[in-house]
């Protein structure tokens, strides 16, 4: 029962974030790149003011799988670095925390673009 509730929350929160994105897509002339950036910055902001933690405890993957999760990871790393290593830490921290995601994106991006080609649409 508990697990069902967890997944329901994840679904509802993740879905709701996408609804906001869809409304922006429908009503404004925002391109997908702008949508991605907006949600990333929303994640950055929520993490910076300390709210993201609470949402994450509640919604788990519902808020970490959307791109806001990536923004939160970056800020968390930068803040942790700044606390531990000062100014250098602020520079080291963000990418260190996000290195798995960035490296995965580049490695798989390169691999699959070598293996596959664009196809026509119908």
């Amino acid at each position: 029962m508990e697990i069902f509730l967890t997944y329901l929350t994840v679904f509802a929160v993740g879905g709701t974030i996408c609804i906001i994105g869809q409304i922006l897509l429908n009503l404004t002339k925002m391109t997908p790149a702008r949508i991605l950036v907006s949600f990333l910055l929303a994640g950055v902001f929520l993490e910076a003011v300390g709210l993201f933690k609470y949402i994450k405890d509640f919604a788990q993957a519902g808020v970490t799988v959307p791109i806001c999760g990536f923004g939160s990871v970056l800020v968390k790393g930068a803040v942790k670095g700044a606390n531990e290593n000062g100014l250098l830490g602020a520079f080291l921290g963000s990418v260190t925390a996000a290195s798995a995601g960035l490296t995965a994106a580049i490695v798989f991006g390169f691999l699959f673009s070598i293996l596959f080609s664009s196809k026509n649409k119908s």
Binding site: N26, F39, V65, F70, S94, A104, F112
Partner: protein
């Protein structure tokens, strides 16, 4: 002939709009589903590798999701999902992977260096630049105060 102001008003009044209801429902369903898949990966990894830290599990999930998004783009499925789901498949991290693989695959014909490598971040570049920029700024602010 009709003047520009009247015409602009006519166009903004009569141009066909996106179907709000159905696009929103689809974004909700697919967006929620992708997040649940991420949650399922997290639960499975936590069970399979009990020695991993919470942060490490989060990283493994991110890598898995990026792999899935990249793979579905490679086999030509992700854009069909995107056409159906709209923001529902753009906002999850799989959409980020899609925005990296799609251009580098497309520009492969122009070579490895100027095609694949140079075009990899034409769509996702702003996300990385602004993400790192803003988080570094916040780190510096924390350092100052």
């Amino acid at each position: 002939m009709m003047d520009k102001e009247t015409y602009a008003e006519l166009v903004s009044r009569t141009a066909p709009k996106s179907k709000h209801f159905s696009t929103i429902i689809r974004a909700f369903l697919i967006g929620g589903l992708i997040c649940c898949i991420g949650q399922a990966f997290a639960d499975i990894f936590a069970m399979a590798f009990p020695y991993l830290q919470k942060d490490e599990i989060a990283s493994v999930v991110t890598v898995t999701m990026i792999f899935s998004g990249a793979f579905l783009t490679g086999i030509g499925v992700y854009d069909d999902i995107g056409n159906f789901a709209g923001a529902g498949s753009i906002i999850p991290i799989t959409g980020f992977a899609n925005s990296i693989v799609a251009p580098s695959m497309e520009f492969k014909k122009e070579g490895i260096i100027f095609g694949v490598c140079a075009k990899m971040f034409v769509v996702a570049g702003p996300v990385i630049v602004l993400g790192i920029l803003s988080s570094a700024l916040i780190g510096i602010i924390y350092w100052i105060f």
